[in-house]
Amino acid sequence: MAMHVINPGPRTTIQDKGRLGYQNSGFAPSGFMDRVASRMANVLVGNDPSEAVLEFCLIGPVLCFDETVNIAVCGGDFGIDAGGRIYPADRAVRVPAGTTVRITTGRVGIYGSIAVGGGLDIPVVMGSRSTNLRCGIGGYRGRALMAGDTIMLRSPENGLKDMSWRRMPPRRLVSPDDPDITRVRVIPGPQEEMFTQEGLRTFYESTYEITPRSDRMGYRLTGPKVESKGGYDILSDGIVNGSVQISGTGEPIVMMADRQTTGGYAKIASLINVDIPLFAQLRPGQKVQFERCTVQEAQELIRKADREWKEHCQKLEESGPPQIKVIQRRAAAAEEERTRRGRGKAGAVKRFGRR
């Protein structure tokens, strides 16, 4: 029972929750760029939320399975084209054996996560199946997928159960068509004191654009230069997912999943965890504005998101095929409500996520 890669897409890798516990030796954790999309996709097909997924950037792979499987794609308005039938993101899709599966790309989101029911038979390296491209370890032979690759499934019997009724409420990601600037919340520090008052005002009051020189290591932003009191170099210290470095050019770089573990550029602030997955889904050309947040507020948001996620999962498990109509009605009502409320005024500032 295997998954065949007919066309990998430009950069598709295997990622899970990440290679944790080795940062002191310099190993980046890698892992999901959008952990919310990845755990949604996994739960939809009955996997553990931290199971390894196929993560693609903008253009998805073309796949074929030997036997019937349940799959799901999440992370943007991607879709699954299974033998010509198109299914939207954020739902489970039962793919009959031998069907060619393509991923359709819409206008919103950049990193897509494809979960395959039963999980992929990928060896665990240092506690994780995540691909670390820099080291050539983890994932499928330590590299991005290539045409002709075959990956076995761990529990092929997963496909015997039809899960195609399972759906998750779609997240609201910020579309490139949306004229609004995205607000991203950050916790100041740990080197905030290296910047002048003018520099801090520039950082928090300006708009920064995501450049095409952005990848799994970090997103380079362009915009007004942030003034420091005397250079941007520090005695190298630790970096986290979402650390905002100001490099020698005075512009921000936001460190992402394949970041280095330590570094020598001053870190003005760090993205809060609940905003990282949505920030990760912004495409080059999209604009952000940074907004201060306290660590206590950020941690309250994490706990709230954690409770909401558990409720979503519980509802999903309690629901079943007979209730499809109820879910669809609810989704339709929610959609209608969103349409009725309409979009914010052009140029207005909008916060990530559902309130």
Partner: protein
């Protein structure tokens, strides 16, 4: 012992013990890492040691910042600073300086006002303490470099440096174990594989050990490289105690 605790995002904090490259500060950071690791503090996932700080990665659903910072304060108050003993272990790293392998050697010479021979002599005259690993697997941050050869890092980092590149950034020197982008002034390259996940010990050394750079010629570089690729190269260690 003075320190301060600062949040780094909402899932990590840093304990800042100083702001200098200093063996005594490093010793305190190392003791703190070992001590806190043994405390098994709930919610903590891992510790990352740097020159003068200890980063604590934690799960904010399990433990909040205020509670964790208070717990670390209480633990550090009980810590015994005399508990650390390390024998000196030094690994020999052969380096071919200048030329194609060290494109920034002229920049360093110019900045220091020294000849290439003198920069190489000063760079290879010291046993460097490995203060920390980071930035990428096996990347060492070494202390003890002669400040007369200090050179600021590049204003714009290079997109690609070869594995084994030896460089200088301000008062620091180090090696790139993997192909990487980077902002250091590159003065040479080692033929050794510093990181190899097929080897029993993927990374040759750890924090607290020492590195000695030994200048080699291009011909020696080629010969050692061949042995490394054949798996016949014997790594040279100098062990005391």
């Amino acid at each position: 012992m003075e320190y301060k605790i600062l949040p780094v995002g909402d899932s990590a904090l840093t304990i800042v013990f100083g702001n200098e490259i200093d063996p005594e500060t490093s010793r305190i950071v190392r003791i703190a890492r070992n001590y806190l690791t043994n405390q098994n503090i709930e919610g903590v996932n891992e510790y990352v040691q740097t020159y003068a700080t200890l980063m604590v990665h934690y799960d904010p659903v399990t433990v909040g910042y205020d509670e964790l910072a208070a717990g670390i304060d209480a633990a550090l108050a009980r810590m015994d600073l005399t508990s650390d003993h390390m024998k000196k272990h030094t690994i020999v790293i052969p380096v071919c300086y200048g030329g194609e392998f060290g494109p920034d050697l002229p920049t360093v010479c110019e900045h220091a006002g020294l000849s290439a021979e003198e920069v190489i002599r000063r760079h290879s005259a010291v046993d460097y303490l490995i203060y920390m690993l980071g930035f990428m697997p096996g990347f060492v941050y070494l202390g003890g470099m002669d400040r007369s050869i200090s050179t600021p890092r590049l204003r714009n980092p290079r997109e690609r440096l070869e594995a084994g590149s030896v460089g200088i950034a301000a008062d620091q020197t180090g090696i790139y174990p993997l192909v990487s982008p980077g902002g250091w002034q590159i003065i040479g390259r080692t033929p050794l594989k510093l990181y190899d996940h097929d080897r029993e010990k993927p990374i040759l050394y750890e924090a607290g050990e020492y590195i000695r750079f030994v200048p080699i010629t291009e011909a020696e570089y080629a010969a050692i490289r061949k042995q490394v690729e054949n798996g016949t190269y014997e790594y040279q260690w100098i062990r005391e105690g």
